[in-house]
């Protein structure tokens, strides 16, 4: 243990852009990706706002040069983002070193499963989607698309902290010498399944989400895929690469409070942040910016805000939730926000928490509401999920 973990590449597709450059452009110009849903027919279409990726499935299939209706949208967007990450890292032979792929997903191929649920018996032409219901099937397909062979490939599904946990496992495997490099992140497409699931929980906003605002009404669902390439110190030195940033700290803890709600005092979140700071060997005051989980549900933002105060005291660092741009992309969120954290470090900029007007009455916390330039060295990113799952990642500019 004790080795450094370098980030040498990243890739993303989200409601605010089809690659890293487009996402950065949108974040810098307040171009949000939240709108009415167009690609899924749902009776809730006039009651919800979502962060949808602009391309249709056939656009994405054409881009990947694969046959129509073979893959779930989760796989399509995952393959696009993972490919960009590898290209960005300058990796041409994916099997050259001990390379792994760890992907987070919650829905996997659910978009196709719900589409063809009753059709499999009579229509053999759609039966390729039967095995797609396995969450791991999405990762296997991405691995094959990348050409990864005889390798460590696995899938993590811990609800909305899945991609953060994939990044954490990847960092640990590099530190312990089990892998030389690893593609880590997550992918989730929109589906009727999640739209209706969150609808029953009554935490979907009928307008633009307003993270950390006293009048917040809930979240906007989104879809995205985002991956980082992590490499060991040895490999970075050997290939003479210049890392984009480093994974400095990580921590996962369980709130052990309720299956879906966070505890009022954010116990799990506090533990996750403490662990991450400990692994990073950093003091709270050394964190320059927090990319918050900030889903804009009444429960999350209160719990997370209290947890931030418990960790940072009166000096909570500047923070924002970029979910106001992308929506809550569930399993992919930790990957999306890892990419944004690295972009923040690279460009020395804090991206704004849009739609914020009124501070919450429970505490005195105001997010950054306009793009702000600031020299950044350390960014902390939170991701929390169902099952009390709380994860924190810390990214740094220097090792």
């Amino acid at each position: 243990m004790g080795k450094g973990v370098a980030i040498t590449g990243m890739g993303i597709i989200s409601a605010i852009g089809n690659n890293v450059a487009e996402n950065y452009q949108s974040l810098s110009t307040n171009k949000i990706g939240i709108d009415r849903i167009t690609q899924i027919t749902t009776i809730h279409e006039n009651e919800i706002m979502v962060g949808e990726i602009s391309g249709t499935n056939s656009d994405l299939e054409n881009q990947l040069k694969i046959e129509a209706d073979q893959w779930s949208r989760t796989v399509l967007i995952g393959a696009i983002a993972a490919r960009e990450a590898l290209e960005n890292a300058g990796i041409t032979d994916v099997n050259e070193f001990k390379t792994g792929l760890i992907s987070g997903t919650t829905v996997g191929g659910m978009d196709k499963s719900e589409q063809y649920f009753y059709d499999y018996t009579d229509n053999p032409k759609v039966r390729q989607h039967i095995t797609g219901l396995h969450a791991g099937d999405s990762t296997n397909k991405i691995a094959k698309y990348l050409g990864l062979e005889k390798s460590f490939v696995t899938t993590i599904s811990t609800a909305c902290s899945s991609a953060a946990n994939a990044i954490m496992l990847g960092a640990r495997m590099i530190k312990s010498g089990q892998l030389d490099r690893v593609v880590v992140g997550g992918t989730d497409s929109l589906s009727k399944f999640t739209i209706n699931g969150f609808k029953t929980l009554m935490i979907l906003s009928d307008t633009f989400s307003t993270p950390f605002d006293d009048d917040r009404k809930g979240l906007n669902l989104g879809e995205a895929a985002a991956y980082l390439v992590l490499e060991s110190d040895e490999l970075v030195a050997k290939k003479n690469k210049k890392p984009l940033a480093f994974v400095k700290g990580y921590g996962n803890a369980n709130d052990a409070f309720h299956q879906t709600a966070s505890s009022e005092n954010g116990d799990g979140a506090v533990l996750a942040m403490q662990k991450a700071l400990e692994v990073a060997d950093l003091k709270p005051e050394e964190v320059d910016y927090v990319n918050a989980h900030g889903t804009a549900t009444p429960n999350n933002d209160l719990s997370e805000g209290r947890a931030l105060i418990r960790i940072f005291g009166e000096n909570v660092p500047e923070f924002s939730s970029t979910k106001s741009f992308t929506g809550h992309t569930l399993a992919a969120a930790g990957g999306v926000e890892a990419v944004y954290s690295v972009l923040a470090l690279q460009h020395n900029v804090i991206f704004p928490n849009l739609n914020f007007k009124t501070p919450m009455k429970e505490f005195d916390l105001t997010p950054v509401t306009e793009k702000k330039e600031k020299s950044l060295h350390t960014v902390l990113s939170n991701s929390f999920g169902f099952g009390g799952n709380c994860s924190t990642l810390i990214f740094s500019k220097n090792q």
Binding site: E114, F117, A135, N140, K150, S157, T158, N196, L271, F386
Partner: protein, 357 residues
């Protein structure tokens, strides 16, 4: 210096009467089916009936196997640093019901319970909630290496002193829509096969089943540990002619050769198309190694290798290989070192190495 990792206890609910830790396949239950289900323990002994009614089968089975493992290890719930679960499909029964409710009721009149239980990490979350365990809580969902991914994570944490006691396991439940769709694509055998004849079935597909296997794993040996876990390796793809080479190089990292392996446990499931992977490893270097199999007893499911891991641990502890799992007649008395090889439909291969401690 890396720590050693010990399997302190086992807990199993399977198609055999394995929930009783005092016995070891004394009486095998035989089937003549294409799908089998677990032999239910008396859930009331473990879960209040009111809570059990709302619980998915996967949660119920896991509550029992996890509690049995904790009890046997004499581990207090407060000593558990992390909970790591592997599951191919999670509580798939609730997922399927939620999907059919969405379609049947045109997205109306839905309630959240089924959606909440559909989350793949429900079992790990529920166990943590029940125990008040605030530690690391991961769920791996990667087909036939879901359990091995969890085990690998636990092994790494214990070796590197990130944790000292971990509850880890694998669970999958068998539900109707999953069965009917997998029949359509021939992944389930068309005709029933008798338990002791699956290797001679001559047909494609497997006997589908379900089960839950949990283990207390620790870097402190304690009393009565079952085994030392030396290593786990997984591969997303492998050709038949590459398996032996990979197995030997995996052993070499432990400074071992095929001669050091006293028992090779193979994931044969009676599918003529894919059992050839096990045959490939049984030639050459491992030709004379005693062999065993287990899926005729457990059935096939994403975390069926949890049963194989349970079997290996029981063999090391009890010091004999039950006749019913022996392949061929070359069994060694009291094996000291066991290698498990598993794969499903030619993908997601795993090698797991254990030795007596």
């Amino acid at each position: 210096m890396k720590n050693k990792v010990y399997i302190r206890s086992v807990g199993s609910v399977s198609a055999q009467k394995t929930y009783d830790n005092t016995s070891f396949l004394n009486k095998v239950v035989t089937y003549n089916e294409t799908v089998t289900r677990v032999i239910d323990p008396n859930y009331k002994d473990f879960i209040p009936p009111a809570a059990a009614r709302r619980m998915a089968k996967g949660i119920k089975m896991s509550t029992v196997s996890a509690k049995n493992a904790l009890t046997e290890a004499n581990t207090e719930e407060s000593e558990v640093d992390a909970i790591i679960v592997g599951t191919g499909l999670g509580c798939i029964g609730d997922s399927e019901k939620f999907v059919s409710d969405i379609i049947d009721n045109n997205e109306q009149f839905l309630t959240p319970t089924r959606f909440i239980q559909s989350s793949h990490n429900t079992v790990a979350g529920q166990i943590a909630l029940g125990m008040g365990c605030k530690g690391h809580n991961f769920t791996y969902v990667h087909s036939s290496i879901s359990f091995e991914s969890a085990l690998l994570d636990a092994h790494m944490q214990l070796m590197n002193d990130e944790a000292s006691t971990i509850l880890t396991g694998g669970v999958d439940e068998l539900v109707e829509h999953h069965v009917s769709t997998h029949r359509l694509i021939g992944h389930i055998k068309k005709d029933p096969v008798e338990t002791m004849s699956i290797l001679d079935s001559g047909s494609k597909g497997a006997i589908f089943s379900e089960g839950s296997h949990f283990f207390v794993v620790s870097n402190k040996k304690g009393e009565n540990a079952y085994s030392e876990l030396l290593g786990i390796r997984t591969f997303n793809s492998l050709e038949r002619d590459e398996i032996e080479k990979e197995a030997l190089s995996f052993l070499k990292e432990q400074e071992m050769t095929s001669d050091d392996i006293d028992l090779l446990i193979l994931g044969y499931n009676g599918d003529v198309e894919f059992d050839t992977y096990y045959e490939a490893l049984s030639q050459e270097s491992f030709k004379n190694t005693p062999k065993a199999y287990f899926k005729h007893l457990s059935g096939e499911f994403d975390t069926a290798s949890g049963f194989g891991f349970w079997l290996a641990n029981k063999i090391l502890k009890h010091g004999f290989v039950p006749q019913v799992v022996q392949l061929g007649d070359s069994s060694k008395e009291a094996p000291q070192t066991i290698l498990i090889y598993n794969q499903y439909r030619g993908e997601n291969h795993s090698l797991t190495l254990l030795k007596k401690c």
